[in-house]
Symmetry: C2
Subunit: 141 residues, 2 copies
């Protein structure tokens, strides 16, 4: 039974599930900032996943990055797994623009989160529905 | 013909080559901070690599992270491709410890780089020679 870390739960909105990962939206309107969490227990490092899961994580990460780059017209995608604070393995996939609040610095710790309005989240969800048409199940967060 | 970005060249030391990537050591003794650069031209995003190269990059990244975690007794490995400043695609693989200079923050922009002495670099190179025994060619930087 998959349990999401309480800090991730608190700071994000649930979008849905890829075959391996839950897709979360960081509740920070400064950037379109998504997080993939493999639905596996007790994993904090990439290499703790079995090889099939590693390949699936990579595939979901890369596909998501490509899709978000087009959808949000990114200047650069940032992809990272850090986990210094939240040990549950999670992969950041962040849309960066040259005029965003932190550019060119990484986003972490740069600005306080600006929570989304319900309307903003609904809009993002609708946009994602147009492109996440295969191998993805939307969940109500 | 592979050409390393001038900023990467300036800020790192060359360790050697995996089948796909050049392995660099960031010239910053604050952290054991390594960088993988696929030897391919004009790539800035993961999904611009062909599928075989993507799999190879993932495999080299994951294997390197696992090996460095043991070699340097990391508390956490940080793996990231950002590229907001240097557009040539590169993957950071960074050994993090709870007592390092930036913990638990990400390393970027946190502290000025502390260049290694020649002896320190020689020691790291020797330690890497013990574990990078397959599919790796050491180069003199």
């Amino acid at each position: 039974m998959f349990a999401l870390d309480s800090r991730l739960q608190q700071d994000t909105l649930t979008i849905g599930d890829f075959p391996l990962c839950r897709l979360l939206l960081s509740n920070d309107a400064n950037y379109p900032w998504f997080i993939l969490v493999p639905r596996r227990d007790d994993i904090s490092e990439l290499f703790q996943l079995d090889v099939a899961d590693q390949q699936q994580l990579w595939q979901e990460t890369t596909a998501l990055a490509e899709l978000l780059k087009d959808l949000f017209d990114a200047d650069k995608m940032n992809v990272a797994t850090l986990g210094n604070v939240v040990s549950q393995m999670h992969m950041h996939v962040i849309v960066r623009k040259r005029d965003d609040a932190a550019w060119p610095a990484p986003v972490w710790g740069k600005h306080p989160a600006r929570p989304y309005s319900a309307e903003q989240v609904a809009t993002i969800r609708e946009r994602l529905r147009l492109v996440l048409t295969e191998h993805f199940t939307f969940l109500e967060g």
